[in-house]
Amino acid sequence: MYVLVRRLMFYAVTAYVAVSVNFFLPHMMPGNPVETMIASAGGQLDQRSVEALKAQFGVGTGQGLWAQYWHYWGQLLQGNLGLSISKYPSTVAQTIGSALWWTVILVGTATVISFVLGTLIGALVGWRRGSVLDNILPVTTFFQAIPYFFLATVLLYLFAEKAHVFPNSDFKSYDTNNYVIGWNPGFIGSAVSHAILPALTIVLASVAGWIVGMRNMMVTTMDEDYVLVAQAKGLPKSRVIYYAARNAVLPSISSFANALSFVVAGSLLTELVFSYQGIGSLLLSAVQSEDYPLIQGIFLIITFAVLAANLLADTVYVLLDPRTRQEA
């Protein structure tokens, strides 16, 4: 699968760029990076943090810029993302590790649901062009424009505050007072119930994009001869729709990359609103506490996760479109 190998190399390059940006960005500000961070924090970092930063960025060790760069890479490849300032003495890696799973499960599930739902609805709306279903489009447009976090806040307000279906403030990802993490039914039940609102937010805010994309592609595909042939063959309607949809879905998969960027952004904000203890909340608290190693570490992890998801989407695409397997 030559195509996939090329994509893999591209992602490797992107990862390289991300890491380099991470390193060079603080260096691009006037002064040495640690000074930059201190200035950005309003001069309020304590001695401990300053030492940790200096160690990570190799400042004051008398090494040149490139040496510091390779040093940074070396650390990274060993899995050492540095020490967290705000969660001292935990390392960045540890801190991220505990939050990562919450986000992956929530965002992963919600994205899949959104994609599947959006594609199915889009196929239907596209098939029944000119019917009342077309009126869905302006509605979905509006939903698409609603900021994720606003939707999240509305949902929180409605269900938690008004209807008291879910706990309100201090929402978190599970009921921390009563349950302990582990494979016990209490915890799992609580975790699931706490995940419903955030997942609903993500799905509602992102499904519109899939619907519109699929609908547009469906309309274009239905003009193709092979769909008319399917009709001429006297195939049942579901099969004819499948003939079209199976082709129309391809651009949605290839645009997954673009869409994922939005979903990541939205999920971040959703986590903030629901105090969900995933990577998003972690990033934001890191920003607020000026924990630079943590900020950088999270950025890298998020980037790697997105790249992995993209590679997955690419693989699916190659599986679904036989024309890509032609070794051109």
């Binding site: 001869d225 001429a232 063959k233 006297g234 195939l235 199976r246 024309r323």
Partner: protein, 351 residues
């Protein structure tokens, strides 16, 4: 093959098809009547825009938006007796499709779904119509079909983009014959192919017809193709059928000025050298048809009456016994047709 004596299998009467609606509607087919008989090859010839494809797709109710059928009937004598295709509902049509009437579309590349294998596209018709067949039987039948058109069985696993143009067209034909239909409608099936492949395919088609005995409605703009292939030919112009006659008769002794013009437009390979004449003028704008006979502005024999009176497709008034018709006022009572349109078959020649 003489199919003239057999019973009709598809009787189209007074078919009119419009594109669009209301005062701006374009009349793509105007009062067309045709009869296709069992086992017959009926060639439908005409320029682009003459309405030939529109007619064929309208009959099978496959015409895309904004096509509408505004008049006429299409009586199909199928396995369940005679039915008017325009009276059937969606489910009845679906059942009839492919099992009794099938279509070979123009461009095979666009007619095959790029993401499914050939095997899948062959077997899904079987799945839909021959529910009694099991998986293995379906696959077997698919292999048989490919064999019938000279393609090896391993191609069942191929995708359309992996086949050559000729192979794709053969697959389309095999696919069309999967359920052994009575009528095969072919829309310019060889236009996109080179002449050599064209020849091969037409030959194979002839053999298949001998074997399976289906009738063919063969649509083309290339009259010369129909010479050997067709039993009868219908010529269309501006949405009307202007002449309908047995193939060889039409070639040797045309009765309509347009047909004469068409025949004069391409050179024969043998015989004496004749000067090629085209047809002056250009095809009419369907939204703005001339009054009376639509061909009269370009017709060398036009009379005054032609401008006001639209001719109907009628048997030739002065040879009423012949199984042919033309829509030209020259052949109606009270008018005299020119000599070139009155040629009779030479005595002793075979028809």
């Amino acid at each position: 093959m003489n199919g003239l004596a057999s019973e009709p299998i598809l009787e189209i009467s007074g078919l009119s098809v419009d594109y669009g609606f209301g005062p701006d509607a374009v009349h793509a087919v105007d009062n067309a009547s045709l009869t296709l008989r069992r086992g017959e090859v009926l060639g439908l010839a005409g320029e682009s825009g003459s309405g030939k494809s529109t007619l064929a797709y309208a009959v099978t109710r496959l015409l895309r938006e904004p096509g509408v059928i505004t008049a006429g009937s299409a009586l199909f004598h199928g396995r369940d007796g005679a039915q008017d295709l325009f009276d059937l509902d969606a489910e009845q049509i679906r059942e009839l499709r492919w099992s009794q009437i099938s279509v070979v579309f123009q461009s095979a590349m666009n007619s095959l779904n790029p993401v499914f294998t050939i095997g899948v596209q062959l077997t899904d018709v079987l799945r839909a119509h021959s529910k009694e067949l099991g998986r293995r039987e379906r696959r077997q039948r698919a292999a048989e079909l490919l064999d019938m058109v000279g393609i090896t069985e391993d191609r069942l696993r191929s995708y359309p983009h992996e086949l050559s143009g000729g192979m794709r067209q053969r697959v389309m034909i095999a696919m069309a014959l999967a359920l052994e239909p009575r009528v095969l409608i072919m829309d310019e099936p060889t236009t996109a192919l080179d002449v050599v492949t064209q020849r091969e395919i037409l030959q194979e088609l002839g053999e298949l017809r001998e074997r399976l005995g289906f009738a063919v409605l063969f649509i083309t703009h290339d009259l010369s193709l129909l010479v050997e292939l067709a039993d009868t030919i219908a010529v269309m112009y501006a949405g009307r059928i202007v002449e309908h006659a047995p193939a060889e008769t039409l070639f040797r002794n045309p009765r309509h000025p347009y047909t004469e013009g068409l025949l004069g437009s391409f050179p024969g390979l043998h015989g004496e050298r004749t000067t090629m004449t085209g047809i002056p003028g250009s095809p009419p704008d369907l939204r703005n048809l001339p009054s009376g006979c639509p061909f009269h502005p370009r017709c060398g024999y036009a009379m005054d009456a032609c401008e006001t009176q639209a001719p109907a497709l009628l048997p030739i008034s002065w040879e009423p016994a012949e199984p042919r018709s033309a829509s030209c006022l020259l052949h109606t009572d009270g008018h005299q047709a020119p000599e070139s349109l009155m040629r009779a078959p030479k005595i002793g020649s075979t028809l």
